[in-house]
Amino acid sequence: MWNRFLTMSCLGTLCLSPGATLLAADVPHATAVTAPISVAPYQPPADDSMPDDEFGKLVRLGKRIFTDTGKYAGKYVGNDLSCANCHLDAGRLANSAPLWAAWVKYPAWRGKNKMVNTMEQRIQGCFRYSMNGTPPPADSDELKAIMSYSFWLASGAPTNTDLPGRGYPALDKPAEPPDFERGRKVYTRNCALCHGADGQGTKAEGKIVFPPLWGNDSFNWGAGMHRINTAASFIRANMPLGKGGSLSLQDAWDVAYFMNSHERPQDPRFAGDVKATDKAFHQHQCRYGDKVGGKILGMK
């Protein structure tokens, strides 16, 4: 649900008031960063240094699953996305929720499910919501492979440390509350070229090249990316592809608001009733349960 008050109360400030735990995303950000993107000091090892043994085999499989999830872990995936669509450069890129920065921070308590999550459970969460699928069991080859790849990427990184570059860099509030029509214009100008006029993505030779942003084949209403603040952060840092940091703060919020004001697969925690689901799980910056163009989002 989009709580107008939350936005208004944050205008021009850093949103660190209790009402603004809207950044209750999973990554705590002490300060909001507007200037993109300082280079993280931690460097994951180069691909060609993957070991040549049984463990190395699993690391390689993990990378393949991460970059082409539908092909290598198809039975656990319910949409057209791959992990690396949101965790760029195969999970290596700072400010794009890199795997090495995650590895050293779990187990950790998460507000989302109000318990301590292991790394396995965190990965399973992205399968369930971001990939709109069924989580692979902790002892499956697929999950072991992603664990191995993450562990290897974090070689030498200090444990239980907030490494710079973790998550997506939080954004300051925009001058104006985000707006659908302005967002549509930003979208048409900067995004439709790749993601399609209707957010459906682009395929070549039957394979997804540019992933869908909304609709049946994208992430579902439970995914972190459906939050406007999380999407705005990701977009500002990473989109348009190859031109991260080029959108204004206002444009990033507007286009995130526009993108996430479209229908997408149901929240898997759906309790048979949009209102109840909204109340239980969507008390943050999102459009679930809101009326857009005469239809309530989340009814599908």
């Binding site: 682009t202 070549a204 348009p240 190859g242 031109k243």
Partner: protein
């Protein structure tokens, strides 16, 4: 009624469909093979009988590229947002209709380089291969194949194929974006890509891409 008289209008009708007599609807194939009679010479002299290009001379293939892309490039040559001493006068001699027709024609020609599976890359760990497949993220550059399709064979209509073009042609384009001689790319995407590439990297990736598909 005299049967012979009815034949004449039919004959005229048949003739009027021919571009030879009526310049109103230009024919793409005619322009490609003979020029337009107004200063644009035959395209195939340089771009090959079948639009397959000329690797030795560094002339790009046009066959199978999206008609939108070809139209945009010809328009850019004639407006000067893409500069090239050979193509600017040629494109400048084409009318808007000529451009549309000849773009459509080349777009419809078959191109073996864009079919089947790409040739197996001989060297996947060289600098060029790494740029093409992984990018140079430390400088914010995505993999070439992220935008140009998994095998570099393009994503119609906006992302042209990059494999199998002449090495010199690819190199010239990357340098042209760096110097500003080519500045018509959507969202300035290629201008961003080349910003941080060294001359060495440009050479390496041009060599790699040129070698990625059979003649």
């Amino acid at each position: 009624m005299n049967k012979n008289l009815t034949r004449i209008p039919l004959l005229l009708l048949a003739l009027s469909a021919s571009p030879w007599l009526f310049a109103a609807s230009p024919d793409g194939q005619t322009i490609a093979t003979q020029g337009n009679g107004k200063g644009a010479t035959a395209c195939i002299a340089c771009h090959g009988q079948q639009g397959q290009g000329n690797a030795d001379a560094g002339y790009p293939y046009l066959a199978g590229l999206s008609a939108d892309y070809l139209r945009n490039q010809l328009t850019a040559f004639s407006s000067g947002s893409r500069k090239n001493a050979v193509m600017q006068p040629i494109a400048g001699s084409l009318s808007k209709q000529d451009i549309a027709a000849v773009a459509e024609y080349f777009s419809g020609l078959p191109n073996d380089r864009l079919k089947g599976s790409a040739a197996t890359p001989s060297d996947v760990s060289g600098k060029g291969a790494v740029l093409a497949r992984n990018g140079k993220w430390a400088a914010g550059v995505p993999a070439c194949f992220r935008c140009h399709g998994a095998d570099g064979r393009g994503v119609a209509p906006h992302f042209p194929p990059v494999v199998g073009q002449p090495e010199a042609y690819i190199r010239n384009q990357l340098v042209a974006w760096q110097t500003g001689a080519r500045s018509n790319d959507p969202l300035g995407l290629m201008q961003s890509v080349v910003k941080s590439l060294s001359r060495d990297e440009i050479d390496a990736v041009a060599r790699y891409l040129a070698a990625q598909s059979e003649k």
